[in-house]
């Protein structure tokens, strides 16, 4: 799958015609999200898109609510077969606390590629979801039966947890079980 990256700062500059590079105000967030939605719609067929925040300066709650939370809600409510998976990149330590707070407020979670290059799950997830996500990430892909023993619960339980992760677009359902969002593909 060809990597697809959206530079959020470039979107910001184009969507609101300003040069500041700061994700501030709800109006701005709405305009940025609408443009990201249009770009995602054009690259949906099962693909993973990297949303690159590395050139973003300042950020506030209202804008993060629009750009991060509302976008995730939209993707979660969309038909899973249409793709639309996103991994967030370049969210610095300064932004992380704010983004986590917005995600927690909505009960959302996202996969974030941190500065150390490792994917991380941030936001609100259950302990079981976090464990299952981590197991899939380490293996690249896994079926519920493969994880049941290590997990310590039955296959049905693991399948339920992975289904939920898939619904939340934190893993992808594939022909060989559930796949980690393949970050390596996106690092350019």
């Amino acid at each position: 799958m060809a990597p697809h990256t959206i530079d959020v700062c470039a979107v910001l500059r184009s969507a609101v015609n300003q040069n500041y590079g700061n994700l501030l105000t709800r109006d701005t967030g709405m305009a940025v999200r609408h443009q990201i939605e249009r770009e995602l719609a054009a690259h949906r067929e099962g693909g993973i898109t990297s949303l690159d925040f590395s050139s973003i300066g300042l950020m506030d709650y209202s804008c993060a609510d629009e750009v991060v939370a509302k976008l995730l809600v939209l993707l979660q409510n969309d038909d899973l077969t249409r793709g639309g998976y996103v991994v967030f990149r370049g969210i610095g330590e300064d932004h992380l606390e704010l983004v986590e707070s917005v995600l927690t407020h909505h009960g959302l979670a996202l996969v974030c590629l941190c500065e150390d290059g490792k994917p991380r799950l941030i936001g609100r997830v259950s302990e079981a979801e976090r464990r299952a996500w981590d197991m899939v990430r380490v293996r690249g892909h896994a079926a519920p039966a493969e994880l049941a023993d290590e997990f310590g619960f039955g296959e049905d339980f693991v399948a339920e947890v992975l289904d939920e992760l898939s619904r939340r677009r934190l893993v992808r359902r594939g022909s060989n079980g559930f796949q980690a969002l393949d970050v390596a593909d996106m690092v350019q």
Binding site: L24, L58, S62, D65, V102
Partner: protein, 293 residues
């Protein structure tokens, strides 16, 4: 003519004396705001004075501070740029000149649109970063939260007030209570106020009591906005979280009530009711110098 005397030191607490003098007067009463003996004003004092003028049906008269250093500071803080339109000024007003006041992070600045918020934050971010880290000795990560708090506070005007307001930010030595450097953000408007804003969205909680104090707690403490969107109302929550971390203070006044997030160094009360009425919403944030590092 009714003379309203401005106290020598004008801040969020002493501004109540101005409002108490105004309370018995109808909105169209002719008033003269006498600031001749005022020698100091916080950003809250300056922005609240402009806001007060907006609430009067008759253009009030205004007598500027007599002390040259005070009036020239007010001038550099751009108070008179806007006061000239809102008041009939009686007396001498010094020219602003080109010198920039070093302790003023942001002069009195009007806010009415989303773009104003961007400009405000962009204008002060570098200077704010220097002052927060060097004067207040805060960690660099405090800068992001400061910008967030400033942005969210200004957005309340854009999103809810229904008319423009003012913002000012200043760094000064808060000798009266702390003997420490502080940064104060003041954001004042004469708009619909929090109670009416919540009522306009049918967001009044199901309680027997409903007044400005309950409305303020609903918005500021519980994070309820006039919009039913579950993502709304996080601004105040974010500001409060930031201030708790850096031992800062938040006070929000609307109508006849005021609520405050009171840090350990202050002895303010968390809620006051039955204050003299003032249309709109007036907010201030104070971030103190860190001493322990």
């Amino acid at each position: 003519m009714n003379v309203i005397t401005v106290p020598p030191s004008l801040d969020d607490q002493t501004f109540e004396q101005v409002l108490e003098q105004l309370a018995p007067l109808p909105a169209d009463a002719r008033i003269l705001i006498d600031a001749r003996n005022t020698t100091w004003a916080s950003p809250y004092g300056l922005t609240a004075l402009l806001t007060l003028a907006q609430t009067r049906a008759e253009k009030p008269q205004f007598m500027p501070p007599e002390r040259d250093d005070t009036s020239s500071y007010w001038s550099r803080a751009r108070f008179f740029d806007y006061a000239g339109e809102l008041f009939e000024i009686k007396g001498k007003v010094p020219a602003r000149g080109t010198e920039r006041e070093s302790r003023t992070l942001l002069e009195v600045t009007p806010v009415s649109r989303s773009d104003d918020v961007h400009k405000v934050v962009e204008r002060i971010k570098d200077k704010a970063a220097n002052i927060l880290t060097q004067n207040l000795h805060l960690e660099s990560r405090a800068v992001m939260g400061f910008a967030m708090a400033l942005s969210e506070a200004c957005q309340n005007i854009v999103e809810h007030a229904g008319r423009g307001g003012w913002v000012a930010v200043q760094n000064y030595n808060y000798r009266k209570r702390m003997g420490r450097h502080v940064v104060q953000i003041a954001v004042c408007d004469a708009g619909v106020g929090i109670r009416q804003s919540l009522e306009s969205g049918n967001r009044r909680p199901l309680t027997d009591r409903w007044d400005d104090g309950v409305a303020l707690e609903t918005a500021v403490i519980q994070g309820t906005s006039r919009f039913p969107d579950p993502g709304r109302g996080q601004g105040f929550k974010g500001i409060r979280g930031y201030l708790r971390k850096w031992k800062g203070k938040l006070a929000v006044r609307s109508g006849t009530a005021r609520v405050a997030e009171v840090p350990p160094w202050d002895d303010d009360v968390v809620r006051r009711d039955h204050l003299a009425p003032m249309p709109g919403t007036q907010l201030f944030i104070m971030i103190p110098e860190e001493l322990e590092r």
